[in-house]
């Protein structure tokens, strides 16, 4: 834990993006999480992804619920509005915010406690509505802030720090999201920034609900032998089934596209996601195949990672609701109020 504020000095050689901003401009307050927390690595990956995508920080909105992971939006992008809501109900706030202003980039940060217990219903319904947002689920199988109880994602047989053994089956957000019709489903590992950053970038670009389940070990309560969400366990059982590269719009796609084992999916804004299969029979554009592969790999105790499913043609909430293209917050009052003549006319029907 640290309350030291970060110095405002900037190294002159810091790389700038097209907006003239450096990575420092995408950072936030000093993290107050435990040293070595997986969540801080996810935060670093988020900073990298926003920096590389050249998103002006003030055009992003950081949404979160309650829990360790939900605290992290304070630790990146100081120039973005953030909303730390109530437990498990970040999806509702994000849905309402998105309904009001569809032009912002919405990033939801949640954890397994926040998303898979009280928040499970809201997560499911945000998927169902295909709310245009990136939803990062920082998954460590444990309640950190209340000191080490099992969460709903803890595996059967997982042992807590106090020696209790978990007997209840886990809720696994990846097959759940796939079953619910999510249009973007990924799993990654906080310790693998190389894999995580392109996934986050693709998720931010995706038009619709992008769910990224990030195994993010809890160093204090769940990083011991017997935990299936520890650094060691994840490193040994992590199996990247598909490698993802995100190619932004305006960047020339290299000859790599033509390689036999590579698939390119064009995103809504024209950028491209390149998939390179690692597992021979894995197809990230076939929901059924992806689901059955994941079921099989889960049975083997593997943690399959990568951008596991992508469908860019799904209609998002606004498309379903036929909302105007401009944000509702920008519609002038004159266009919203029918006025006195209309009221008079309407009331003729009430006589």
């Amino acid at each position: 834990m640290s309350y030291i504020t970060k110095p405002e000095v900037r190294h002159p050689a810091l790389e700038e993006n097209a907006l003239g901003l450096t990575r420092r401009d995408y950072e936030g307050a000093m993290s107050t999480l435990c040293a070595g927390c997986g969540h801080d690595s996810v935060t670093a990956a988020i900073v990298q992804a926003f920096f590389e995508l050249e998103i002006p920080p003030h055009r992003a909105a950081k949404m979160s619920g309650i829990g360790c992971s939900s605290k992290t939006p304070a630790y990146f992008m100081n120039e973005s509005h953030g909303f730390n809501g109530v437990h498990g109900r970040m999806p509702a706030i994000a849905t309402g915010a998105n309904a009001a202003n569809r032009d912002l980039v919405y990033l939801g940060i949640s954890g397994d406690g926040d998303s898979l217990s009280i928040g499970l219903g809201q997560l499911c319904h945000a998927i169902r509505r295909n709310v245009n947002m990136l939803y990062v689920l920082e998954n460590n199988g444990v309640y950190g802030l209340t000191k080490g109880q099992f969460s709903a994602s803890a595996d059967v047989g997982s042992v807590s720090k106090r020696g209790e053994v978990n007997r209840h089956g886990p809720i696994n957000p990846v097959p759940l999201a796939l079953t619910l019709g999510a249009t973007f489903v990924a799993r990654s590992f906080s310790g693998d920034k190389k894999q995580l950053v392109p996934i986050l970038k693709a998720g931010l670009t995706h038009k619709g609900f992008a769910m990224v389940d990030v195994i993010s070990p809890c160093v204090t309560f769940n990083d011991h032998e017997g935990s299936t969400k520890s650094y060691a366990h994840t490193r040994t059982h992590n199996f990247e089934v598909v490698q993802t590269d995100f190619v932004p719009l305006m960047t020339e796609i290299t000859a790599e596209q033509d390689r036999g084992d590579t698939t390119a999916v064009t995103m809504h804004d024209g950028s491209t996601v390149m998939f390179r299969r690692v597992a021979e029979d894995y197809d990230p554009t076939d929901r059924e195949a992806a689901l059955s592969y994941l079921r099989a790999s889960q049975a083997k105790g593997e943690v399959a990672t990568g951008l596991l499913y992508l469908e860019e043609s799904g209609a998002d909430m606004h498309a379903c609701e036929n909302t105007v293209d401009r944000p509702l917050v920008d519609v002038p009052f004159g266009d919203l109020c029918p006025g006195s003549a209309a009221l008079e006319e309407l009331q003729k029907e009430w006589r």
Binding site: G82, F83, N84, N98, G121, L328, V329
Partner: protein, 610 residues
């Protein structure tokens, strides 16, 4: 037989007992509309079961030339169309009244009364003879009783024809069949009974400046006129029809002329927890957003409401109260949510609330609610009830001031932010306890972290006692100051009256009618109806200025009286509770009885009235 000497024109009540799901609602609406169009004040109360088809349902119509339109339990005419409820329906008619029933089958002699007149009309037989198909026959039976009532009450049949023509427009066949059913009832009544009855209609001119609508329709229209763009909700009786109406109005008034796309977004949430969350999210982004709910939903919203209070996010919540606790009686009315609304959520919370009495106020208060919510950056409740929300009320025609501009409160624009050195979200810059707010996406300098966790005036996380207190104390001052922004109480002072009456919401009609009756008995009582919370300072003054103040409300625990005790400096010993909470709309007799009993107990009843 009824007393023919008394002129009962335009002053009577009738009740229609049917089975729900048989189409009687449209027949009853037609009846009420015909009375209204004859220029006579009228109200309709729909007493329906929590069921879709097959259970007993009633519709009560009160016709009153003086404009007293609260519910009355004294029915001059009963239209008994449901054999299952014959017995209790017949019992409810006043002595000297009339029972119109379907004489296709004889009535059980045990339930007959010799102090009422039975008017049997073979509705079922007539409809079987004249119409084909079971469904049509059932529907037409309802229309036929409207025809019979037209004869008994001397309703204008041409008016009914005109209404049918409007309703069915080009469908001549439907107009014809409905008119045929009207004639069946009308002709039979005229041929077999003396028409009209002593209780009957005479044309007046007391409705030309009025309209008929429900509070929920009016509230929805208020949302449209206030410029609300996001509505999030979960279906619940009796609040559902607000969003239904909002959707309908938006379909009419909120299409982008160029693209035909929607200038609104309605989200049917997975539950009330999500519904209020969406409203908070949308308001946080700068939209005018609302939700509509009733008691059980309000309980679910409680946690989020505390967040909105503390993080200072506007929200508009329509609470259409129904009978609690728990599921209670979902299709009956009550005013049992007052505590829940005012103190919703844990910790020190207190909310601004507006209490409309009828659909007219639902419209205007809906608009005010958005202004107040944005001005004070906090949730604002519009608290109505099932009676206001779902029943047909005759109210003055609504008007819209073209000069209205929404009060968006203290929101900094990009230019404002460009000009300031630094922005601090919760700082009391102007000394009015209301901080400045920024919206996401507007300017990098406007960014801050909205949180329900302890925060200081700069918006930063804190666990510091003083920094925490500074913010919550300011919020308390802010909410207190809203007393001047909510609608002032409605007051009718009786000269030198020793007694006062304070009431709320839909009790208005019954209370005013009761005061007239009491005044006729020599009991002078001043009247005040609170229309907003925090209470206006004049409320405590009113109570303290009277020897006894009767607090009239519709809940068991006297919630308004308790709020007045806790939230004003009025003396508790000055107030006496007059309560009715059985789920039906309040009647004048409840108030007269309650007040009389209390006066008697206090030894203050005028001589001869005890």
């Amino acid at each position: 037989m009824a007393n023919d000497d008394i002129d009962r024109a335009n002053d009577f009540a009738l009740k229609i007992g049917t089975v729900n799901g048989t189409g009687s609602a449209s027949a009853n609406a037609m009846l009420m509309q015909a009375i209204f169009r004859m220029g006579v004040p009228v109200s309709g109360k729909n007493l329906f079961p929590s069921n879709i088809q097959g259970l007993p349902t009633w519709y009560e119509i009160r016709v009153n030339k003086h404009g007293h339109l609260a519910r009355t339990p004294d029915f001059d005419i009963m239209v008994a169309m449901n054999a299952e409820t014959y017995q209790r329906d017949i019992e409810e008619v006043v002595s000297g009244g009339y029972v119109i029933y379907d004489s296709t089958r004889p009535l059980d002699p045990d339930i007959l009364r010799d102090d009422v007149t039975f008017l049997g009309i073979p509705f079922a037989d007539m409809c079987v003879e004249n119409f084909k198909g079971a469904r049509v026959r059932i529907l037409m039976k309802n229309i036929a009783y409207v025809g019979a009532l037209a004869a008994f009450l001397e309703l204008d049949v041409d008016l009914i024809r005109e209404m049918l023509a409007e309703k069915f427009a080009a469908k001549q066949k439907l107009i014809d069949s409905n008119m045929q059913a009207i004639s069946l009832g009308y002709d039979y009544a005229r041929e077999n009974f003396e028409c009209p009855l002593p209780v009957h209609m005479e044309p007046m001119d007391a409705t030309s400046d009025s309209v008929i609508l429900t509070g929920n329709t009016a509230a929805a229209l208020g949302c449209v006129y206030a410029g609300a763009t996001v509505g999030a909700w979960y279906p619940i009786t009796p609040a559902t029809s607000i969003m239904d109406a909002f959707k309908e109005f938006c379909g009419r008034f909120r299409k982008d002329p160029e693209t035909g796309k929607n200038l609104y977004c309605i989200v049917q949430a997975e539950d009330e927890l999500a519904a209020i969350g969406m409203v908070i999210g949308a308001s946080w982004c700068g939209a005018r957003a609302f939700t509509n709910t009733s008691g059980p939903g309000l309980s679910l919203m409680s946690e989020f409401l505390g967040l909105a209070y503390y993080a200072e996010v506007p929200a508009v919540v329509f609470d259409v109260q129904r009978t609690g606790p728990s599921t209670g009686m979902p299709t009956r009315t009550q005013q049992g949510d007052l505590f829940t609304v005012i103190y919703a959520s844990h910790g020190d919370t207190k909310h601004i609330a507006l209490f409309p009495a009828d659909p007219e106020e639902c419209f205007y208060f809906a608009v005010s609610a958005f202004d107040i919510a944005e001005r004070f950056q906090t949730p604002v409740f519009v608290v109505s009830d099932l009676d206001i929300g779902m029943n047909d009320w005759m109210v003055p025609r609504l008007e819209w001031d073209e000069g209205y501009t929404p009060d968006r409160g203290k929101v900094l624009t990009a230019e404002d932010l460009e000009a300031v050195e630094e922005f601090h979200r919760y700082e009391d810059v102007d000394g009015d306890a209301i901080p400045y707010r920024t919206l996401p996406g507007v300017h990098p300098k406007g960014a801050y972290f909205t949180r329900g966790a302890g925060h200081d005036k700069y918006g930063g996380y804190t666990e510091d006692a003083e920094a925490y207190k500074e913010v919550v104390d300011r919020i308390a001052r802010k909410i207190e100051s809203a007393a001047a922004a909510v609608p002032e109480p409605e007051v009718r002072m009786a000269i030198d009256a020793p007694f006062g009456l304070v009431t709320i919401g839909a009790c208005r009609g019954a209370a005013l009618e009761a005061l007239e009756q009491l005044e006729a008995d020599g009991i002078e009582i001043s009247y005040m109806r609170v229309r907003g919370f925090p209470f206006h300072p004049s409320v405590a003054q009113f109570i303290n200025d009277h020897e006894i103040t009767f607090v009239v409300e519709q809940n068991r625990d006297g919630q308004l009286l308790k709020l007045l005790t806790v939230e004003t400096w009025a003396g508790k010993d000055k107030m006496t509770s007059v309560k009715y909470y059985g789920g039906l709309p309040l009647s004048a007799h409840h108030v007269v009885q309650g007040v009389t009993e209390a006066l008697e107990k206090a030894g203050r009843l005028p001589a001869g009235k005890a």
